[in-house]
């Protein structure tokens, strides 16, 4: 009985990755994504920039569409162009909120709707429905080696930069006035962080498309909020949740023949539901227990 159980476990959880190269590369891509997206998502949540993350993820679309126009479904070109438009929108929306009466979230919302409209218009006019779905939902199963290297490089850079600016970035999150009073230039760290967000969203867009790229960041981050009370612990837990979501999501996709991007997000969503029900801090169960 035990033997058959272990055989099932092996066949379900390990064999697909052992047998098929087309699954191994997406798995490594997911792991690389998880390392960068975990901490970025946590800081996005703590800075109350969830909506802005959503806006930036859609801001990548017109760039990806332009890249598509220039060189077809080339992930590298689409990523590069998406990165350029993402950075432009992030900087423009942030600057607009500082120069006008608009708050940052409203400014980002305006730009993101515009970006989304332009992006979909370009792809649906010059490409087909299949192309549009590829950009919106991602094509993780067709990630090639250069794309995997790009994703890994982005995650590595993200971790190194966050480690470098960790102190002022965190201080700017919860006590910006104190940072200003000690002559720490919060704006610089804010812009560096926006830059990292765009890079990671471009990274995630290859795997799960612009529509759900933010899911890889936000869902593990908000789930982690129920399991830890320190930023470094939240970042590690969010990374682990993203790893689990990538692994299980790909398995679900393989066994059930579901699209891989939505499967990964679905698992992340399931972890989120479990977390807010039984999490260690502030979950429904804890609140009910203390009531």
């Amino acid at each position: 009985m035990f033997e058959s159980f272990f055989t099932w476990v092996y066949q379900f959880f390990i064999e697909p990755f052992q047998s098929y190269m087309f699954l191994r590369r997406p798995l490594v891509t997911c792991f690389a994504l998880a390392l960068g997206c975990g901490p970025i998502g946590v800081i996005l949540v703590l800075r109350r920039m969830s909506l802005m993350g959503e806006a930036i993820s859609h801001a990548i679309l017109p760039g990806a569409a332009l890249g598509f126009l220039i060189s077809g479904l080339s992930i590298q070109m689409m990523s590069f162009a998406g990165f350029v438009t993402g950075v432009c929108v992030a900087l423009s929306a942030s600057a607009l909120s500082r120069k006008t009466l608009l708050k940052e979230d409203a400014s980002f919302a305006g730009f993101y709707l515009l970006s989304l409209g332009i992006g979909i218009l370009i792809i649906s006019s010059y490409g087909g429905n299949v192309d549009l779905m590829c950009v919106l939902l991602g094509t993780i199963l067709s990630v090639n080696v250069p794309s995997l290297i790009l994703v890994s490089c982005i995650s590595s850079i993200t971790l190194m930069v966050i480690a470098l600016i960790y102190r002022p970035l965190i201080l700017e999150c919860y006590d910006a006035h104190f940072l200003k009073s000690v002559k720490g230039n919060g704006h610089i760290y804010h812009y560096i962080f926006l830059f990292l967000v765009v890079m990671n969203l471009v990274s995630a867009f290859q795997a799960i498309g612009t529509l759900m790229a933010l899911g890889m960041m936000m869902l593990p981050a908000v789930s982690a909020r129920f399991w830890a009370q320190q930023v470094w612990a939240l970042s590690i837990i969010a990374g682990i949740f993203a790893l689990i979501a990538g692994y299980i999501g790909l398995l679900l996709s393989y066994h059930s023949e579901w699209p891989s991007g939505p499967s990964i997000i679905l698992v992340s969503g399931f972890i989120y539901i479990i977390s807010f029900i039984i999490g260690r801090y502030g979950s429904l169960l804890r609140r009910a227990h203390h009531a």
């Binding site: 006590d175 104190f178 009073s181």
Partner: protein, 239 residues
């Protein structure tokens, strides 16, 4: 010495402080008082450099200007942020460690000592979100203590605190002042001002009065501040 020379600060078209001039002596203990919207907090933010001046100048000895400590109102701090008391207080070492350097080897001892001074050493590993308003204010005082600045700016440090906490924190302020530090504190409670602060500046966007607390807190000066507050529609129950 800090010299305010005809300073004005505006938020867009809204004038918060206009044409204010006075001198602060080194080692002085000053209360900044006035109705709501009088520009008290704005004045502190202008000193620390958070808000730019639209007119005039604030002349501060460069050695002091490089080493100021500022306590913002608690409403400006995200109390739900997942950070421990230790990490919050250790930010008081910023002058030594800056944004990138490691903590010095004695950092833990110094944080412990600073927390001990405010009666919070047993809370060192607690997340700040689990502290009461009074406890959190003590933690912020410990951070200021670690900053060891020559000029200390406190923005409404006693808001919503109970009497024992106010008394303890007032004693800490007195101790800093006795150690030769210059202290400017925005306050609403005139009894505390009369009891503990020998010098005061009464603001109502303009400077209504400046000097010894006794001379500043006269009926005429207070009426003038009321009158000015009514002109801009400020709430004036605090003076």
């Amino acid at each position: 010495m800090i010299k305010f020379e005809n300073i004005s600060v505006t938020y867009g078209n809204h004038v918060a402080v206009e044409d204010v001039s006075f001198d602060v002596q080194d080692g002085g203990l000053y209360a900044i008082i006035g109705p709501n919207g009088a520009g008290k907090s704005t004045l502190l933010k202008a000193i620390i450099g958070i808000l730019p001046l639209t007119k005039g100048a604030i002349n501060i000895d460069p050695a002091i200007a490089a080493h100021m400590a500022y306590l913002p109102q608690q409403s400006n701090i995200d109390r739900s942020f997942p950070i421990s008391v230790f990490d919050t207080v250790a930010m008081g070492l910023w002058q030594e460690i800056g944004p990138f350097q490691n903590y010095p080897p004695d950092a833990t001892d110094r944080v412990h000592q600073a927390l001990n001074e405010v009666g919070m050493s047993s809370y060192i590993n607690r997340p700040i979100g689990t502290l009461s308003g009074g406890q959190f204010q003590r933690v912020l005082f410990a951070r200021m203590s670690l900053q060891n600045a020559d000029l200390i700016l406190l923005d409404e440090p006693f808001n919503n605190l109970d009497e024992p906490t106010i008394e303890d924190l007032t004693n800490i302020i007195m101790k800093w002042n006795k150690a030769g530090k210059t202290i400017l504190t925005v306050l609403h409670d005139l009894d505390i001002v009369r009891d503990c602060f020998p010098q005061a500046a009464l603001l109502a966007r303009h400077l209504v009065a400046f000097g010894s607390t006794e001379d500043v807190l006269t009926v005429d000066n207070i009426r003038t501040s009321y009158r000015l507050a009514r002109q801009w529609g400020g709430i004036n129950q605090h003076v």
